[in-house]
Amino acid sequence: MADEEGWLGRFVDNLPEQGWFKFLSNHFVVPYWVWREPKAKLPGGPRMAVQPGENLQRMMNLVMPLKDRSPIGRAKATLALGQSVDTLYAGLDNVGTIHFARFVIIENNLCMMSVYDGDFDSYVRDFIVSIGNVFDAVLVHVEGGDAVIPTKQNVEKFVDWIHDHDLFQMPDFATDLFDLQDEAQNLAANRAPHDLSSLSRALVLQLHANPNFALGSGFRSYAGYSAAQIRSTFGMGW
């Protein structure tokens, strides 16, 4: 049979699973490419779009490293939030554009995952007005948080800070990554066409620049409706 796998072929086919090859890749190959084809850190949050479906039920994945990485430190951050539940609910109901929000502490990172409608900046600004003091109480425990406290007097800075800590959302269609990377370098889309096989490298290098990221824009069971529309439809008032 013409196509027989020789021992060398089998060896190379199995390379990606070999420990020593993984070591070589992580410590030499990837850093080489990071130097040769650097990728800018891509901004976090959902990308601007005109379709209503893109502007409703948007995902925020906020990752805020804690200053104090001990159980006591985590407890302090927890208490700061736990004492603010009433404030949080008042804020939620009055801003009116949040579907869900949850706070999670993972590996000394305080994360806020939320699903919201509309303009990110307006949503943050409206929250500063209504629950800015909760932000201030929590940000004390977060790395870099001091620079934006009190949030009411650092509105633009805080909005930018949140953008920075909101995770990059990998495009739902993998090949769109090329366009995002070109745009970040101010290149016109597909001006220098990318080889499809270079997608894996583009992905690896992007995940070097954005080590934390969201896989796509998220899954929605009943996409396309605002929080107020759902409340209104089910007779709960808005």
């Binding site: 990308r47 601007m48 779009a49 005109v50 209503p52 502007n55 409703l56 109901d93 009055n94 801003v95 009116g96 554009t97 409608d117 509309g118 303009d119 900046d121 307006s122 600004r125 409206d126 500063i128 007005v129 209504s130 800015g132 009411k152 007097q153 650092n154 509105v155 633009e156 800075k157 909005v159 930018d160 396309g224 409706y225 605002s226 929080a227 107020a228 529309q229 409340r231 209104s232 439809t233 808005w238």
Partner: protein, 487 residues
């Protein structure tokens, strides 16, 4: 609040419209090619002007001596950089201003025909748009004079002329209380009626039931409508205060498509009436709209009124749902003292209700009155005659002024004007008059007499963006600082 306001430090066009006597405007789009001559010009302009340099008009009251011309400037971020603003100061400007309007296109609904890739020159090269200097005059020749003076210090890439369109027969007497003539947009509606009201010493106070706005709505360095919040003052506390931001937009209006659609919608309503009787206008109601108007003509007016929220002469639909009030009876109170509380007859999706929900119930419960904009806009292009339609370029040269582009202009554009997020009955729908509509997906709910909705579909985008820029309207102190920057 207004005690520490120095009117001589604020550019005049922010706090007042000049239309009482100056009905011609020219926006000069400038590139800084020679930094020192640009600075010299600014230095002279801010110090009272010379024989060869127009004077920057400030906000001090005019008294009885009205100027023959007025002159103001706005600077883009590229322009601030071109003028040599120190990097540390450049870093204090908000992100949306630094990005520039072209980069924010998808947030503003500027796609397809309205995308920056399709903008007319000079806005196809946004990196070259450094300043937008605006001259106001009684006569067009005076505009030429100012343009020549400016051209000595800047490269005038292009300019755009606007004019007041005053139709005294249709519109009422001075309804703003300051004698300024009315303006009519090319879709026929009286325009520029409602502006934020400020309590400023020396400025006429218009009696109105509408709340006054805090000064920080439109000037940097003062309390804003968002409780407890102040926006960052760019450059420095001293220099940035009394400045503002402007969204300048060239909005082309498709009058033919608008009139056409009104007819289409009216025909459908007429059909409905044949089967079910009057739905949206009482029988015989056409007489009250205009004597001699046909039924279908009246239905067209109803559609135009409900889409806008005002009848063509400015009567609010909320106040009078079935006919405009007689023009002679219009006062600033009738035109502006209304709100959408309770059972209002104005559709939730109407244009003026989207951009200013007043006291109406909205999803963002604390946001009423927080996204006001000062509008200084002028029509451009020749009059449109529906009997002899042409496709000459015409539309609005828009200036949407506020202390924060992000919190006001952009927030209105992307959440209220488009998307309709503030009311679940209109969420996912765009403004029928100026929204980013496509005929395959557009929807507007008319309000029938009994209060139920009647769905209109299939209307195209009537207003396209043909160019624009975010500019900073610096205080006079800031302009002087820029003029005196060392080389």
């Amino acid at each position: 609040m207004s005690e520490d306001l120095r009117l001589d430090n604020v550019q005049g066009n922010i706090l007042r419209g000049y239309r009482s006597n100056l009905c011609h405007v020219r926006h000069l789009i400038l590139e800084v090619t020679e930094r020192s001559s640009a600075r010299r010009f600014l230095g002279a302009a801010v110090s009272g002007g010379t024989a060869e340099v127009p004077r920057i008009t400030c906000a001090t009251g005019w008294g009885t001596l009205k100027p023959e011309t007025c002159f103001n400037i706005g600077i883009t971020f590229a322009g601030m950089r071109a003028l040599g603003t120190p990097e540390a100061m450049l870093a204090t400007f908000p992100t949306e201003y630094v990005d520039g309007m072209a980069k924010r296109a998808l947030k503003l609904g500027d796609f397809g025909d309205s995308a920056p890739a399709n903008w007319s020159a000079p806005f196809d090269r946004t990196d070259r748009v450094h300043l937008i200097a605006t001259a106001y005059a009684q006569q067009p020749e005076q505009l030429d004079q100012i343009k020549a003076e400016v051209a000595k210090a800047f490269h005038v890439i292009d300019f755009r002329d606007g004019r007041t369109r005053n139709d005294a027969n249709v519109l009422g007497p001075a309804f703003r209380g300051d004698g300024s003539p009315n303006n009519r947009s090319f879709f026929g509606h009286a325009d520029g009626i409602s502006q934020p009201r400020f309590k400023i010493d020396g400025y006429p106070d218009i009696n109105s039931s509408q709340p006054t706005s805090p000064l920080g709505t439109v000037l940097l360095g003062y309390d804003t409508p968002l409780e407890g919040i102040r926006f960052r003052v760019p450059m420095s506390e001293e220099l940035g205060k009394d400045g503002s931001f402007n969204a300048f937009r060239i909005l082309a209006q498709d009058c033919w498509a608008f009139e056409n659609y009104l007819t289409e919608a009216a025909d459908a309503l007429l059909e409905l009436e044949r089967v079910k009787g009057p739905q949206v206008l009482p029988a015989g109601g056409e007489k009250a709209i205009r004597p001699g108007l046909s039924r279908v003509g009246a239905l067209r007016e109803v559609v135009a009124a409900q889409m806008c929220g005002r009848w063509r002469n400015g009567t609010p639909v909320d106040t009078s749902p079935f006919h405009p009030l007689p023009t002679d009876d219009l006062t600033s109170a009738t035109l502006n003292d209304f709100t959408y509380s309770g059972e209002t007859t104005c559709p939730a999706g109407a244009h003026i209700r989207r951009v200013n929900p007043r006291d109406g119930k909205i999803v963002q419960r604390a946001a009423n009155h927080t996204r006001r904009l000062v509008r200084r806009s002028m029509p451009y292009g020749p009059d449109f005659d529906a009997a002899n339609p042409d496709d000459a370029p015409r539309g609005l040269l828009g200036n949407f002024i506020g202390a924060s582009i992000g919190a006001q202009f952009e927030a209105v554009m992307c959440d209220w004007l488009n998307l309709g997020l503030h009311d679940p009955s209109i969420t996912r729908r765009n403004d029928p008059l100026i929204g980013a509509n496509t005929p395959e997906t557009s929807v507007f709910d008319l309000r029938l007499m009994e209060g139920t909705p009647y769905r209109l579909r299939g209307f195209p985008r009537f207003v396209r963006t043909k160019g624009g820029a975010y500019t900073f309207l610096p205080s006079l102190r800031a302009i002087r600082f820029l003029a005196e920057l060392p080389n």
